[in-house]
């Protein structure tokens, strides 16, 4: 994968999108194979070092909703703070940057239980940004959101990837939106997987076989799926 690119992982339910993402993020132990970042094996990193390389946005809800948005985002600085977690001027600046990139200035003093799903998702993205890692992994960042918010979040991610030169990888079921916005797409299929730009994948007819043909067909011109 290249720096500064937004990549989507797509595939049917249960194919292992989240498993792949959570394994990459070291959230769960790997089944087999090796994962390397900057040619160093992922398990050879100390927890603190890895935290400065990869940040994650997971599907699970945060445990305490009594935190303010700002506190959640500030926790993203933990890999860099001292033993008791004091925020330095640099930390505060990174937090402000993350907030302005995601444009949630007006939400920062609100408690998490006051936020809507879409707002909370933005806060979690800002938290990942504040962690200042070269790689951000997001597990279904657009589920439970309406079409407008789906597009907003993905455009935001694309913007961040291009602006900050971060590698952003996320799983999604919104293939149609992903086709329009992502730089690269990884299709997980039963036996094989394909990784390329959306146009190249459409040209190679890789989406046609994604779902059973008797139920759903793919229209390459409009980049959309149709129920038969």
């Amino acid at each position: 994968m290249q720096k500064g690119e937004l990549t989507a992982i797509v595939g049917i339910n249960g194919i292992g999108k989240s498993t792949l993402l959570r394994t990459l993020g070291n959230v769960q132990p790997k089944l087999s194979g090796t994962i390397s970042i900057d040619t160093i094996e992922i398990n050879d990193y100390k927890p603190g070092q890895l935290a400065a390389k990869i940040s994650v946005v997971l599907t699970e809800k945060i445990a305490s909703k009594n935190l303010t948005s700002l506190e959640v985002i500030a926790l993203g600085r933990q890999p860099y703070t001292n033993w008791i977690g004091t925020l330095t001027a640099t930390d505060k600046q990174k937090i402000t940057e993350a907030i302005s990139l995601v444009q949630i200035e007006e939400l920062q003093h609100k408690k998490c239980y006051e936020l809507s799903d879409g707002q909370l998702q933005k806060v979690m993205i800002a938290r990942a940004l504040a962690q200042d890692t070269s790689i951000i992994l997001l597990d279904e960042p657009t589920s439970h959101l309406d079409l407008y918010h789906k597009a907003t979040i993905l455009k935001l991610l694309k913007n961040i990837a291009h602006k900050t030169k971060k590698t952003i990888l996320f799983t999604t079921h919104e293939i149609e939106v992903a086709l329009q916005l992502c730089d690269k797409i990884l299709i997980l299929d039963k036996n094989t997987s394909h990784f390329n730009t959306p146009d190249a994948l459409i040209a190679a007819k890789k989406f046609d076989s994604l779902f059973p043909k008797d139920t759903i067909t793919f229209n390459p011109e409009s980049g959309s799926f149709k129920v038969v």
Binding site: G25, V27, S64, L67, L75, I84
Partner: protein, 342 residues
């Protein structure tokens, strides 16, 4: 952000603590005028020499015990609630209290059963403290062994409850076969008591609690990360197993040590963290840890004063008072705020 507000709140709490301390030592079964109580603290002249003896060797150690147990239990409750991300968790969910009860039960009731075979040493405060702390640490050790194998913190919570059930069952069986006198002695222990500690025992308790607080301070950063959940904490570079071990160790020292010396004291560990979160409206452990220590100490001093039934010869069981005073407060707070902030 709210630095000034917090500083002011802490100063107020400290003043309140000193006031409660003075009130607590000015009440007891012997009536001593308030002015004499104050002068006794500062080593001044007293109308009667016996008053000075009562205050120095009975009331002050008792009030300090109240401060130590209240603060310690409240802190261990906070640690457990954050570790398990469960508002119902308290210091005793890991079976620490039931372990201590088991130790005490075996000493008091087991000794009588086996007295025909062995002649056990006397059952007194020191042996009771040893037996109950051994009991709580054995249960805690088994929980920690399991914790090293279990990844899911919720499973650990349930395992702790199961350990509690097992020890409670053994205590029931022991009670069934024991005679009334021993049973009464055990029940008296389970009432909890702050007044039985000598200065040297108090010193030991202070060292144990100090160690517990010291370890807790080093877990502040990861405690804050745990608020997001275990997976997020791991992604932030928290060494989950190590931090979990430290948190459980600190809880064990605090709750185990206190139960050993003062018996099982309910409610404080569960309720004080909630009260503190409601009042301070924060979840940052840098604020919460000193705040629960102060709140716990103040609440315990108040309960102790009430248990003394001012100026009467009777002392009510502290374990009952903490629940009677505290539980309604939590219910009232929840009704007022309509939700359990965590």
């Amino acid at each position: 952000m709210h630095q000034k507000k917090y500083t002011l709140a802490f100063i107020l709490l400290l003043v309140l603590l000193v006031i409660c301390f003075c009130i607590s030592i000015s009440f007891g079964s012997v009536t001593i005028p308030f002015t004499d109580t104050i002068s006794a603290i500062f080593g001044g002249e007293l109308q009667k020499e016996s008053w000075g003896y009562i205050i120095r060797n009975y009331r002050i150690p008792k009030a300090i015990t109240a401060i130590l147990t209240g603060g310690g239990l409240a802190l261990s409750g906070l640690l457990m609630q954050t570790l398990f991300r469960n508002p119902l968790a308290g210091p005793f969910v890991l079976g620490i209290s039931s372990g201590a009860s088991l130790g005490a039960a075996i000493l008091i009731m087991g000794a009588s059963m086996l007295s025909g075979i062995f002649t056990f040493g006397v059952v007194n405060n020191v042996t009771l403290a040893i037996a109950s702390s051994t009991g709580s640490f054995l249960v805690l050790l088994s929980v920690m062994v399991v914790a090293a194998k279990v990844k899911d913190t919720m499973a650990l919570l349930i395992i702790g409850l199961m350990f509690g059930s097992i020890t409670a069952a053994i205590v029931s069986v022991l009670s069934y076969f024991t005679d009334a006198e021993q049973l009464q002695q055990y029940i008296y222990w389970s009432f909890g008591s702050l007044g039985n500690l000598s200065w040297s025992q108090l010193g030991l308790l202070a060292i144990i609690i100090g160690t517990g607080i010291f370890i807790s301070i080093f877990t502040i950063k990861s405690l804050n990360a745990f608020l997001l959940g275990e997976n997020y904490a791991r992604s932030l570079g928290v060494h989950i197993k190590k931090q979990r071990f430290l948190i459980i160790l600190a809880t064990g020292l605090l709750a185990g040590g206190i139960t050993a010396f003062a018996g099982p004291i309910a409610f404080i560990g569960l309720a004080v963290p909630h009260l503190t979160r409601q009042v301070f409206n924060t979840t940052n452990h840098k604020i919460l840890i000193p705040a629960v220590l102060l709140y716990g100490a103040i609440l315990m001093l108040l309960c102790d004063t009430i248990a003394q039934l001012p100026s009467s010869a009777y002392v009510l069981p502290i374990n009952a008072i903490t629940s009677i005073i505290g539980a309604p407060v939590v219910i009232w707070l929840l009704i007022r705020k309509k939700k359990m902030v965590f």
